[in-house]
Symmetry: C2
Subunit: 401 residues, 2 copies
């Protein structure tokens, strides 16, 4: 299998898009260019969905570099993405299309589900004795891939979250009250934790950070908010959309279960403002200001801007390009299958290497915030700040009078 | 009253903060510096609230220019802001503090309520025969001040909205579905309208734009969404938080009235995700995809980032500084009272002048989107695009394959 196979390469993008997922796409194309055994470089439309449905591919072979550079800077998947987890029957169709299109190099940019798709496709090719190199290119704002120090897409999303909290903290200072910001990441708290980078002064928010890794207790939450209000007369709170109680039940679902549903009988948490609104209502009910009136409480759900805001972290953009390029080079130099992982070699100065890890080690597994990144019930550690800071690029400075 | 009075100047910030309200603060300070009759330049804490409560002022006279420049670049009111509308008794207290602090120059940065406060304070000084110059410095992301071509703060908020829609449109292309984004501006649609600047290609979103100036009909809304879905298989929608039916009832309140309330019996629209979530649920109920399943529908409420995102429009930042400086110069050159207004002199090239208008013409009035900026039931006109484009600065380019 280490002999170089002649044929075509195909690239797909999968899962929730990021601000830099097209950097990885362009990285793969760049890495493959000028490599003789590869005849055409093709793009799947909407990931393996396009192959399953037999949609025509997009020929990337002749796209001028200047055009590719503009695509690289555009957020979200330029080829289209897919949320589908292929069934066994789907995989048969995918493999048919691979043979039909004379594909010998298969690149899939995505999270842990995508690396699992990559693994399945590779196993099918092996069973069929068909020479196919399958490389997974990491991408996820959740930062939850095993064996990765961090994943492309995370740094830009973390940058957005940190900037949002910095600016919102000043807003909360201007008009004091309780402000809840709900952050993406149902299972892993890395993105919620990045809010801590916003702190630039001892009384700055976020004053409380709630991660999905730490059981969330409603009574304790109310007491912690009261504590901050008593000290600062304001409170800025970072809450992961995935906070859970000690039994693992999502708080959002729990708060709404105990309540009546909305006009249409629906309970929705993701892509909606429900969790933030429920927590805001809870606080209004249980915390009174000295005047006896409910305090000023507002909730924002940071939403899709976290994953697509068009001003990415420069280091994240460069690394996303790099992992794409590395995957191409690995395939060309004989690696039959694997996932590219970013490994940190040093933090001062910040330096990383890109390694190949086994697909089965990454596939369908979730990495959580390690214990040393968490501090108490509502904060992150200095270790986390040290870890996250180099990933987001330079942040704006907030100055006071 | 045109004789130059010796004494102190005081500056306050009021209402919802913006990304550039501190530019105006620094503009006033800059404009006053070196003007002999002014002994001290003071800042009110939290607007007139600080005067009413007798809070100590902040002395800005000796703050180094380098420090002020950093403050100018920081979003939200560095002096603190206030939402309070002073009562008559409050105004007596304000005037007492003005006399006590030997204030002869009063600058108030804010929206139409703030210009009304300015007007009342000026009238009190006249009745008392106390020489006080009262200048209102415009600020509002809503862009709803009379006699102003546009207001400082709007351009930066409009920039955020346009960038959010550009990026989110690519996200919606990647994973097709129906996406609702709810935008600030309860009475005026200028900020919602700015979403149209995101369009860079004929099939780009926002595909539907709903302004508070155009009566919103739920049945027509559902049909219009169906129409776009039928054509593009996706739909990105801009909705003002203040959309109203033909009787002027807010749609948010209406949708929730007909429904059961949440766990805590509260109905909240502003600073919450309720309107977006209600519209999303409505669509899920009434639009089926060809498979019979409800389509993928998501709602984001863009929230406070609109008014505080720390990367402002450069032209907005410069104009915000300019109106502050102009207010100082007017006060020094004998103007006893008035509001600074930005008047557009030419659009190609973009050129504005800053004039003084009467406080009573701006005070407590709301400017709406003029008819020529609106197109049909769900769009803005080319005139609006021409109007808005110069205010937001250069936007990122989105490129496709």
């Amino acid at each position: 299998m280490s002999k170089v196979a002649e044929g075509n390469a195909i690239i797909g993008q999968s899962g929730g898009p990021t601000a830099v997922i097209n950097q990885s796409l362009v990285g793969v194309v760049e890495g493959l260019k000028g490599f003789k055994p590869i005849k055409r470089i093709l793009g799947m439309r909407h990931g393996v969905d396009g192959l399953i449905k037999g949609l025509p591919t997009i020929d990337l072979t002749e796209v001028p570099q200047a055009h590719l550079e503009k695509v690289a800077k555009t957020p979200s998947a330029a080829l289209g993405s897919s949320r589908a987890k292929p069934t066994e029957a789907d995989c048969v169709k995918i493999f048919e299309q691979i043979r039909k299109n004379d594909i010998r190099y298969f690149f899939y940019i995505g999270g842990n589900d995508s690396s699992d798709t990559c693994r399945i496709v590779h196993e099918m090719s092996q069973r069929a004795g068909y020479d196919l190199r399958c490389l997974h290119v990491p991408k996820t704002v959740d930062n939850d891939l095993m064996y990765n120090d961090h994943t492309p897409g995370y740094g830009s999303a973390a940058r957005y979250v940190a900037m949002a909290f910095m600016a919102d903290d000043r807003d909360n200072f201007s008009l004091p009250g309780i402000k809840i910001n709900v952050i993406m990441g149902r299972n892993a708290g890395f993105l919620t934790a990045a809010s801590a980078l916003a702190r630039h002064h001892e009384d700055c928010g976020p004053h409380l950070i709630y991660l999905p890794e730490v059981p969330f207790e409603i009574d304790r939450f109310v007491e912690e908010v009261k504590g901050v209000i008593g000290k600062l007369n304001r409170c800025q709170i970072a809450v992961s959309e995935g906070v859970k109680d000690k039994d693992g039940t999502e708080i959002g679902a729990k708060l709404i279960q105990g309540a009546q549903t909305d006009a249409h009988g629906n309970v929705q948490l993701s892509g909606s403002g429900a969790l933030g609104d429920m927590l805001a209502n809870l606080i209004k009910e249980r915390i009174k200001s000295p005047s006896g009136k409910p305090p000023r409480v507002r909730a924002d759900t940071l939403g899709y801007m976290q994953r697509c805001w068009p001003e990415p972290s420069p280091v994240d953009a460069a690394e996303a390009r790099g992992v794409g390029c590395k995957a191409a080079q690995e395939a060309m130099s004989g690696t039959t299958d694997g996932s590219i992982a970013i490994i940190r070699k040093s933090n001062h100065p910040y330096r990383v290497e890109k390694h190949v890890v086994r697909l089965m080690d990454v596939a369908a597994k979730t990495r959580h915030m390690p214990a040393e990144f968490i501090s108490g019930t509502h904060d992150v550690s200095h270790d986390f700040i040290d870890y996250c800071k180099p990933l987001v690029g330079e942040l704006p400075q907030m100055e006071r009078l």
